[in-house]
Symmetry: C2
Subunit: 406 residues, 2 copies
């Protein structure tokens, strides 16, 4: 079993970096807070005897050698970055769980056959730079390094500039490291485990995600003298489109998800009908065909609207993360660990994207979930029980040991 | 008659300051561009022999003495600030028309009985600091100087700081100057004169305006794992409310106006259901009672929505500009000028707020409109015909002469 007290203490200590008055965390990728979080993690890893490597995406790898260092390593990890108004568990728990596995192996002087590596992937959240999971995405070959480097935040800063500014543009090439298996432990970020009163979710896959920029274009004009019937009001068009879009969630219930996280009117002046409105659209479904159908219907809604009105509109798909099925052996290793430890568990599909989505393309992978309070995540009030945190990491330890053939 | 060539040349010259590639103007209040525009205007006024005074709101007064300087002056003017994506005519035309009246009187060595003053009011547009028409509003006692000074732009800069930063925080107290009458010439900013093929509008009043900040509050949560039925999605609430709000424009057609110039989701992250959405609402109607009814119905819509859903919402009214009827004698002076000059004209009510709304509280006031292309304003493509510009200023000249008893 892991050292639950130490594990919890480290989780609470790193939560101070970017800690918010409401008890959340703002440690947005490649900011000064992110740098401090990375440095603390590296410090702890070195204390635990690990060697550190940073690749050209700023992904951090901490390595504990095995008996046979020619064997491919076991990879454990997640991400240290947070949402701007995020919580103390999303991502960082999976990284520190990896560290705790290593610290526990050290405590018991256990030497594994294969080496173990703990990773923190850059920009999992996608809150500052779209798309999400870009560090693991480049690692797995889903994106080129050039594409990732060119992504810009709202201020126009590129991801490469941001990496340089916090001194985490490493030298190692991205990808091509050799792993036998990968495990990621994470809070569920949804309400199912809590409702089912289970301590651990054995994650069998991840639903699909499509991200779009929707732009509805009208004509700027004065809020006062312009008669309503002469206007080309993109806000009016946008709300009609969004109402139809939300209806897709009902049509494809219960699994479909429709989220509008951001809206922006340009020029954004109170007494001017906007020239255009830009809307961030996030559509999800666990089934590939259904998500494709949602995509078609979304485009039809927009086209139908353009045909019925004088507005123009553009749908720009900026990310597609296909539904994923995890590796059967890795899933079995987690399932057996829960049985061995007597931890209550259930199988489930992840609603959120995770670095494991991309890593599973190149390494046999699976995930472990623990419950979070009220299913709340991407919120400063995100919360998880200490015992669940420890149970999840115990399950991780045993899944790793099963795989690393201690 | 005024010197149309000189008038047009000056209008085109000042349009270079903050000129945009699309042929518009970005000379937002109290920016460097606004400073340059003000300096050029002051330079021209001094060339025309005027004395200059700047008050504590940054309002600029250029004075041409009369035969009898104990008589109250005739006031002509408008504003030099523009929308961020504004045109070459809105506001600046009315200021330079005042200057052209003075230049024409100089050309003909006409000494008027009463002095004449040309004014440029600070922050008419309200695009950077809400509410609009705040320079003339403080002048007329509608707002206190303290209130105006405390208004903030989106960056949190106060109006007072902005006045200081461009060196236009003057020393004269605001208000209390003595005027016999005030005239403002302006583009219509709507399509009526163009449709009716008239060169000049004799403006008899201004419709009422109500500005609100509407905030719809939900609960931040993750875009993926959170089931749709567990969400408190403020975007969903906002679009339902806005759809009902737009329906008010139909209910009170043809005169009601409903405009949503700005929308903002917080935290504004693609994979997070926002915590809240803030919406700028602009409601207008020429009739006081009808506008009050629109106000009630708007509040009822929001309340009804809050009762039906789990969302919260706040309606914060930040400005009310009541419908205005202009002074009968000033209207008559304009009407007679159009007849005297043989300029085609019609009577009309303004759809936009203007500095004259507030000035009419303390000085007998009226306005003169000229057509603008396609009724377009608050748009870089705003356009007016040279002949209409000259006709409008000729009418202004004769309305002033009628009143100043040359
Ligand atoms: N776990 C998580 O918050 N991932 C971000 C990608 C997503 O939006 O699902
Ligand atoms: N004329 C003009 O654009 N005024 C601004 C105030 C308003 O929104 O009507």
């Amino acid at each position: 079993r892991v050292n639950g007290e130490r594990h919890w203490r480290q989780l609470m200590e790193i939560a101070q970096i970017g800690g918010t008055p409401k008890g959340g965390v703002c440690r947005v990728t490649l900011t000064e807070e992110d740098r401090q979080g990375r440095e603390l993690f590296i410090h702890w890893c070195k204390e635990a005897g690990c060697s550190i490597e940073v690749d050209q995406m700023g992904n951090i790898f901490a390595r504990r050698p095995g008996k046979n260092n020619d064997l491919p390593a076991i990879l454990i990890g997640s991400h240290l970055d947070s949402q701007p108004t995020g919580g103390k568990y999303d991502g960082v728990y999976g990284v520190l769980a990896g560290l705790e596995v290593i610290q526990t192996l050290n405590d018991y002087h256990i030497e594994t056959e294969a080496p173990i590596e703990v990773v923190s992937w850059t920009n999992e959240e996608g809150a500052r730079f779209a798309p999400a999971m870009i560090g693991s995405g480049v690692y797995a070959g889903a994106f080129t390094l050039e594409y990732a480097y060119s992504r810009q935040d709202k201020e126009g800063i590129t991801l490469k500039e941001a990496l340089e500014s916090i001194n985490f543009l490493g030298e190692q090439p991205v990808g091509g490291r050799s792993y036998a298996a990968a495990f990621e432990v994470h809070i569920e970020q949804g309400p199912i485990l809590e409702a089912e009163e289970k301590s651990v979710g054995v994650v069998t896959g991840v639903q699909g995600i499509r991200w779009y920029d929707l732009t509805v274009k009208g004509k700027e004009t004065h809020a006062g003298p312009s008669p309503m019937e002469m206007r080309k009001d993109p806000v009016k068009g946008a709300i009609d489109i969004l109402q139809e879009l939300y209806a897709l969630a009902d049509e494809f219930a219960p699994h479909a998800r429709v989220t509008i996280g951001e809206l922006k009117a340009t020029p954004g002046v109170r007494n001017t009908v906007p020239a255009h409105v830009t809307i961030a659209v996030d559509l999800r479904h666990p089934d590939t065909d259904t998500l494709a159908e949602m995509d078609h219907k979304f485009r039809d809604i927009v086209q139908g609207h353009v045909q019925r009105t004088e507005l123009e509109a553009e749908v720009d798909e900026i990310w597609y993360s296909a539904p994923v099925a995890f590796d059967e052996n890795c899933i079995a290793a987690v399932r057996e660990a829960t049985k061995h430890l007597g931890v209550s568990a259930m199988e489930m599909v992840s609603g959120a994207g995770h670095d494991s989505v991309y890593i599973s393309r190149v390494v046999p992978t699976s995930m472990i979930f623990i419950p979070c309070k009220d299913g709340l995540s991407h919120n400063e009030l995100e919360s998880a029980k200490k015992q669940d945190v420890i149970d999840g990491t115990d399950v991780l330890l045993h899944a790793v040991l099963n795989t690393a053939q201690k």
